[in-house]
């Protein structure tokens, strides 16, 4: 009996170790991450760029959110914006930040600008967390994990410059990368956890059980893109919509790991998140979730034909 137990645990640990190594450390193509870099970079440019409209109104002298006043609400976080207050300082630093995110988006010095873009974005968020919403955690997550991967391999100025130079490093950079696998897996796991949290938290109150959850989103008059309040005449449709959202958020974190179910889950995600964007007007949140979902798309669907013969289009998706 003792031998059987120890044998079982030996096989268990061996299988777990092998699975862990395959899951996290099998080198993979970074084409998907390169495409995600362009998209999430564009979203970060939008979020950072639109903040410039109200930069002085929020953070300037006599701004609505003075650092000293709101410090108790910020907690122990770092933002270089906490040390700036004059309009000149704020504009100069934020324009440099915008340039850094744009360089990351186009893939110029991608390794360096990926870290800069993350620092700039997090500084925006930490300066005044009360003006952020559900979009920012998704974008921060994507920017952070893209720092770990060679995400400038495709669709990038780096790639174009290397090709022009006939750089030998280009070929090496095109090889499957363990960093790409780790970044992709971290995005996948993080997204699954986040969606699970959204579903789980809905079950802690009565609203989503009773079928009225969507109504409380639909009926908010100020932010919606499309007015669905006429659905009050067909409450069963609202019930169905509510239950569909919860069902999706509870099933996505599990079934998205099943290859056969993955395309259905990703398509359903697009429908659900688009519907939420129409109802709430929070388009950036839906876009961020759609970009994050791309981590489950195989690089072979993204990659363009590469010049190197025999190149593997392998991916963790």
């Amino acid at each position: 009996m003792t031998n059987q137990v120890s044998s079982y645990f030996a096989r268990l640990f061996s299988a777990f170790g092998g699975g862990w190594t395959r899951f996290w450390f099998t080198p993979s193509d970074s084409s998907t991450l390169s495409a995600m870099r362009v998209l999430v970079g564009s979203l970060a440019v939008y979020l950072h760029g639109t903040l410039l409209f109200d930069l002085v109104a929020f953070f300037g002298p006599n701004g609505l959110l003075p650092t000293a006043e709101i410090a108790p609400l910020e907690g122990r976080t770092f933002s270089y914006l906490n040390y700036l207050s004059t309009p000149g300082e704020l504009w100069a630093v934020q324009l440099i930040g915008l340039a850094a995110i744009m360089l990351f988006t186009v893939g110029f010095w991608t390794r360096a600008t990926s870290i800069l873009a993350l620092v700039v974005f997090l500084s925006d968020v930490q300066r005044a967390p009360m003006i952020t919403g559900p979009t920012e955690p998704i974008v921060a997550m994507l920017l952070a994990y893209l720092c770990l991967a060679p995400c400038g391999r495709l669709f990038s100025v780096d790639r174009w410059l290397a090709a022009r130079r006939g750089d030998a490093a280009l070929a090496a950079d095109s090889a499957p990368s363990t960093g790409a696998t780790i970044a992709t897996r971290l995005i996948q796991v993080h997204l699954a956890l986040w969606v699970a949290m959204m579903g789980y938290s809905k079950l802690t109150g009565d609203t989503w059980w009773s079928g009225l959850g969507m109504w409380w989103l639909i009926a908010r008059p100020d932010s919606r893109l499309v007015d669905f309040s006429w659905l009050h005449t067909t409450p069963r449709l609202i019930d169905l919509w509510t239950h569909a959202v919860v069902f999706f958020e509870l099933t996505f974190p599990i079934l998205v790991w099943v290859p056969l179910a993955r395309p259905l889950l990703l398509a359903a995600g697009l429908v659900i998140w688009t519907s939420l964007a129409l109802v709430t007007g929070d388009i950036t949140f839906a876009v961020a979730l759609a970009i994050a979902s791309m981590a489950f798309v195989s690089p072979s669907l993204i990659a363009t034909p590469m010049p190197e013969p025999g190149r593997l289009a392998t991916g963790p998706a």
Binding site: E69, L73, G213
Partner: protein
């Protein structure tokens, strides 16, 4: 989105020692992440203590969903509770010419829409921090900052700030709301006088209005099913 069985693919290229070290880092990161995400709704004491342990890491990377400093439902898409409503902040003051002026947050007509969302988020943060049994100092931080900024910008020495909750009509009442026979209820959850002296801003809060029934003048009586105006607890 490969539907086929995963191919064997290339073998791991990192040494076992490197893989072990990175595995440890991944494990710790995922554990911290799990704690940061699961403390969003009804965390246990154990979860809160673990969150404190990872707090600097989670907060600085913006990875946590837990509201560490203040109970503001920034992730309302995960809730949509009846109490998860929009607020407006109104600052009234007399201008230099003596005329009464009013500044409302969020202002209307901002483009692109995300700018309006940011102002709305500030107003919602101010509104949801008003809790009759909560920390009065925390509740007054944003009203004081907002009113002080508005008064300074307009050169006024004193004024009033009012934080108003704009409740959402019940689904059963929507027919009457759409026909104009009923107005969605509102309630002033916070009101204070504000004084500006130089750079100093002082706030004198009026009586807490949270207990007042959310009825608007001229509107039909609110439905008894209208949610009680309690602040959102994420």
């Amino acid at each position: 989105m490969s539907l086929d069985k995963p191919s064997p693919g290339p073998s791991p290229t990192w040494s076992p020692e490197t893989r072990s070290l990175v595995s440890l880092l991944i494990f710790v990161h995922l554990f911290a992440l799990f704690v940061g995400v699961t403390t969003y709704a009804r965390p246990s004491d154990l979860q809160l203590r673990l969150h404190d342990l990872f707090d600097p890491y989670l907060r600085n990377l913006h990875f946590t969903a837990h509201q560490v400093s203040y109970p503001v439902a920034r992730y309302y898409l995960t809730h949509a509770l009846p109490t998860d409503v929009d607020f407006t902040c109104q600052v009234d003051f007399s201008g230099p010419d003596g005329a009464l002026q009013q500044v409302t947050i969020p202002p209307t007509g901002l483009q692109p829409p995300i700018r309006a969302r940011r102002y709305q988020a500030i107003a919602n943060a101010a509104g949801t921090m008003v809790d009759p049994e909560g920390n009065e100092d925390i509740a007054s931080i944003l009203p004081k900052a907002l009113a002080g900024a508005v008064l300074k910008q307009h050169g006024a020495a004193q004024g009033n700030i009012r934080v108003r909750a704009n409740y959402i009509p019940q689904i059963e009442d929507m027919g009457e709301v759409a026909a104009g026979r009923r107005t969605p209820p509102t309630n002033d959850v916070y009101e204070a006088k504000v004084f500006v002296t130089g750079n100093s801003v002082e706030l004198l809060k009026k009586a807490n209005k949270l207990e007042v029934a959310p009825v608007q003048p001229g509107a039909a009586p609110a439905s008894p099913r209208v949610p009680s105006p309690q602040p959102v607890k994420p």
